[in-house]
Symmetry: D2
C-alpha cells in the first residue's frame, strides 16, 4: 500500500479519492474548498493545507482539476505540489486537458526529476463511485506499471494510448463523442416532439437502441423530469470542445460539427446553464429552437 | 397465411420479402430491375409485371421504396398498385418518407377504400435478413393488429407511435440520430488520428463504449479496411436529413446540427460517395478535413 | 399608357403600384386587406373585389406576393387572375419565389395562352418608393420588351438573366447575399461589443467601409436605436433562405453557411421577431449569443 | 523627420516602409528573408542584421508581422527589438493579432520603459501602396499623437478605438466581416452558377450592388480568371478567424457563423490553397460543394 497526495475533490476527484482509501492506501488530500474533504478525513485521510503539503513524502500525486490553468497553478505556483514531490515520485494528472498541455507538464516534470502520466478518465459520477472508470493513459510503460496499484483502486479498464499527451488526446476524443452525441440526441428529441411524438415514447424507444450512445440511458430521468443535477457540468463539456477545436486548429484539421456543437453549448452557457449537467442542452434547445 | 404484394426489392426489401416467404405467406413481388426477384421466384414468389399486377387479390401490399416520389408513382401512376387493391386490403408503406407524405398517402388510401399503415423500420441489412427489424408504426390500432402476422415475419419489436404519419416521424428521428451520430463519430475518429492516435486503438476503444452508438460496432471493419459496401447508402441517408430539415422548417423548429450534418453528407455525395455505405463519410472527412 | 392589374399591396407592392399610377398607367388593384388600397383609389386606381376582377381587360398583371403558395392561389384558385386574363396579356410575377416555381408558372401560363415573366426586384422600401428598383428578369426577350413601359415606371435597372426562372434564380442569389451579409455583420457587431468596443464606434467605422455591404448603411439607425420597423420582414428573409437551400438540394450543391444562417434566422423567428425588419437578427444575437 | 526601425517586409510591410521613405523618414529595415529589403535599400534604407539592430536609436519601431508568436519572438527573443529601443521610444505594432496579445505586449513594453500602440490596418495591398490605409488604433492619446507623423505617411484615416488592445479588437472585427463576407459571396456565386446563371452575369450584377461588400469589386478579375494571386493570403485570413473565435470564447460570446466560416477556410487550406488570395475560397467551394 502506498502514500497518495490527492489534489482536487470535485464530483469525480472525491469519488476517486474515496476508492483509494477503500483500497487501503494512505491519503493526504487537498481541495480549495476545504469542507469537501471532511468525510474523507473521517475515513482516515489527512487534510493538507496546500498542494505542496499534500505532496510531501507521497509515492504518487493524483490531480483531478478543472482546466489546464488550474492544474498549472496547483502544480507550479506558490505552494504548488510538483516542487514538493520526492525525486522519482509519480504525478498522475487525471484532469481533462489538451494533449499539448500534458506534453508540456511532462517536460517540466522531467526537469524537476519526477515522473509524469496523463491519465484522464472516461466515465462520470457513477462509475467513479463504483471504481469502474476507464483510464486513458499517456506516458512510459514502466511508469504506468508503477502506477497500476493506484489505478486499480479507481478503474476497471486501462488503455495505454501511447507516449505523453496521448492519454489526454484519447480523452479529448471521448468527450468529443459524448458532447456532440448529447447535442445530436437532444436535437433529435426536440425534432421528434415538434413532429408531434410524445416525449415518453421517444425516451422509451431511442435510448437503448442502436442509434443512441449508451450514456444517454443513464440520463433518461433528467429529460423526463427536466431536472439537470450535474454529473458532468455543461461548462466543462463546453471547455472540452473548445480545447478540442483548438487542438484541431493546431494540427490543421477541419471540424465543422464540433465547432457548431461548441457554439450551441456556449449559447446554453450564456443562458446560465453552465453549472447544470451537460444534458441540459436539451432544455436550451427546447426553449430556443 | 396471407397473400402479400411486395413492391421494391432493394437491400432491405429483398431481405424482408424473403422472410415473408419463410413465414409461409404467398408473395407476388415487383421490382423495376426484374432480375433482383429471381431468387425469390426460385423460393416460390410470383414475379409481377407491374405494381398493379402484384397488388391484385392481395390481403396486404408492402412497399419498400427509396423516396416519396418513387412511392407515389408506384402507388398511383399508370399501373400503380393502389387502385388495383381490393377494398379493405391494407397498404403498409415501409419506405422512409416524411410524415406529411404519409398523412397524404393515408388520405388518398382512405378515399380509395383501402387501409394504410406507415411502417418504416429501424435496422439495416443484417437485422432485415434475420427478421429482427424494429417497426415504427403509424395508423389505427385495428389496422396494425390486422397487419401483425406479416409484421412478425419481418421484425421483432413493434412500436405504435400514434396516428398516420407518426411512424414516419419516429423513423425520421431514428435516422436523424444515426446519420448525425455517424458524422460525429467519424469527425472524432479523424480528430483522434490527427492528434497522433492509432486508428486501431481508436477503433478498439471507442465503439462499444458508452459514448458511441452501438450501430458503429457493426461498421468497425469498414473503417478498418476503408471499404464501404453499402448496407445503407449515403445518398439515402442524405435524403433523410433533407426530409428531416424540411419537416423541421414546416413545424418551425431550428436544427443547426442537422443542417450542417446534411451539408457534410451532401459534400460527400458530390465527391461520388452516394452509393457507398453512409459510414463512408469517414473517407470523405479523412480526404477533405 | 396601359391597363394594369396589380395584385398584392404589401410594403413593396404598394410603392410599386403608386409609381405605376404616377407614370400614367390605369390600375385595378387587389389586396386581401382591402384598406391598404384606399390611398391608391384616392389617386385613381380601381379597387377590385377579386384577383380575377383586377385582371379582366388588363394588358399586364403584376403580382407582388409573399410565398409561392400565395402566388399560386391568387393566380389559379377560385377567382384567380390567370384564367381571367386576355389571351396574349402578360403576367409579370415580382414575388420572391424559387426558380422551379417560376418555371412551373411559366408552363401553366403558356397553356392558358398568356405570357409570363419572372421579375423579382432587388431593393427594398426606399428604392421601391423612388422607382429605383433593380429588376431581375427571366423570360423571352419580346415579352420583356413588351413589359418595358411598366418596368420603367418602377425601376431604374433591368437585368435580363435568361429564360423563365432565371430572374427568380438571380433574386435568390441577391437575397442569399443580403440575408447572410446581414447575419455576418450583426455577428461581427456583437463580437466587437463583447471585445469592449463602443457600438457607436463600430457603427461609425464599419458601415460604409470596404468590408460591409452598402445595404447596412441605410440600417444604421435601427442598430443604434434598437428599433426594427420592418422594411423587409425577417420571416420573409428566412423563407428566402429556406427556398435557396431547398433549391440547393435540388441542384445538388452544398451550402453550409446558408444552412446555418437559415437556422439563426429561424431561431430569431421562434423568438417572435419574424415581423421585425431582418436586421433584428442583431437583437436576437445580442440577447442569445 | 524621424528615425524608424521597420520590422517585417511582407506584402503590406514592404509597401508601408516604402511610403515612410517617400515621406522623408530615415529607415532601418529588418526582414527574415533579407532580399526583400533590397529595393528599399536602393531607396536609402539601411538593412539591419537583427531586429535589435533595426531598433537601435529609432524614434519609433513599426512591426508588421504574421502571427502573435512571430511578433513576440521578434520583440523579445534573442536580438529582439524591444530591449534595444531607447526609453520613451514608441513601438507601433501593425500586425493583426488578438486584443489580449496586444494588451500583454503593452504591459511588457511599459515595464521596459517604451510606449506601445496597437495599430493594425484595414485595407490590403493596393491601399498600402497608395498610402491610403485605415489605421485602427489602441493606446494613449499622447502616444498616438506622437506617432501621427509616421501614421500619415502610410494611411489616410485614423480611428482611435480606445485603450491598448482596442485597435487589435477593431481590426479583428474588420477581418471577421471581410473573411465571412467573402465566404458568403463565394457561396452565393456557386449557388447562382448551379442554378444555371452565367458567372459573367453574376459578376456583372452582384459586385457593386447594395448586397455585396465593396472589397469584392476589386477581386472580380480573380473570380473571372480563376487566378488568385495573393493580396491577402487565405491562411492569414483563416488565422484571423481562429483568433476571433478564440477571443469570442474568452469573452463568452457564441459565434456560430464565424466558427463555420473558419472551418470552410480551414478545408481550403488543407487543399493547399493557403498561399492563394483568400478569395480562392471560391475555387474551393466550386470544386467541393
Amino acid at each position: 500500500m502506498g502514500k497518495i497526495g490527492f489534489i482536487g475533490l470535485g464530483i469525480m476527484g472525491h469519488a476517486m479519492a474515496g476508492n483509494c482509501i477503500k483500497a487501503g492506501h494512505s491519503l493526504a488530500v487537498y481541495n480549495r474548498t476545504r469542507s469537501k474533504a471532511d468525510d474523507l478525513a473521517a475515513r482516515g485521510a489527512r487534510i493538507a493545507d496546500t498542494p505542496a503539503d499534500a505532496a510531501r513524502g507521497a509515492d504518487i500525486v493524483i490531480s483531478m482539476l478543472s482546466t489546464p490553468d488550474v492544474v498549472e497553478d496547483a502544480a507550479w505556483a506558490d505552494n504548488g505540489f510538483a516542487p514538493a514531490m520526492a525525486k522519482g515520485a509519480i504525478w498522475m494528472d487525471s484532469s481533462t486537458v489538451d494533449p499539448a498541455f500534458s506534453r508540456r507538464m511532462a517536460r517540466r516534470a522531467a526537469e524537476a526529476g519526477i515522473r509524469f502520466i496523463d491519465a484522464p478518465v472516461a466515465g462520470s459520477k457513477l462509475p467513479a463511485e463504483k471504481g469502474e472508470l476507464i483510464f486513458l493513459l499517456g506516458g512510459g510503460s514502466p511508469d504506468i506499471k508503477a502506477a497500476m496499484p493506484y489505478l486499480k483502486a479507481m478503474g476497471k479498464r486501462f488503455i495505454h494510448a501511447g507516449e505523453h499527451g496521448k492519454g489526454a488526446a484519447l480523452k479529448m476524443v471521448f468527450n468529443y463523442c459524448s458532447g456532440l452525441g448529447m447535442a445530436v440526441f437532444c436535437e433529435a428529441l426536440v425534432l421528434g416532439e415538434r413532429l408531434g411524438l410524445e416525449k415518453e415514447l421517444l425516451l422509451d424507444s431511442l435510448p437503448g437502441s442502436h442509434v443512441v450512445m449508451p450514456l444517454i440511458t443513464g440520463k433518461k430521468h433528467k429529460f423526463a423530469t427536466d431536472e439537470y443535477l450535474p454529473e458532468f457540468p455543461l461548462k466543462w463539456l463546453q471547455k472540452d470542445l473548445v480545447l478540442a477545436t483548438k487542438s484541431g486548429w493546431e494540427c490543421d484539421v477541419s471540424l465543422p460539427l464540433g465547432n457548431i456543437g461548441k457554439e450551441i453549448f456556449e449559447m446554453a452557457k450564456v443562458k446560465g446553464m453552465g453549472d447544470l449537467d451537460f444534458s441540459a442542452v436539451y432544455k436550451f434547445m427546447k426553449e430556443n429552437y
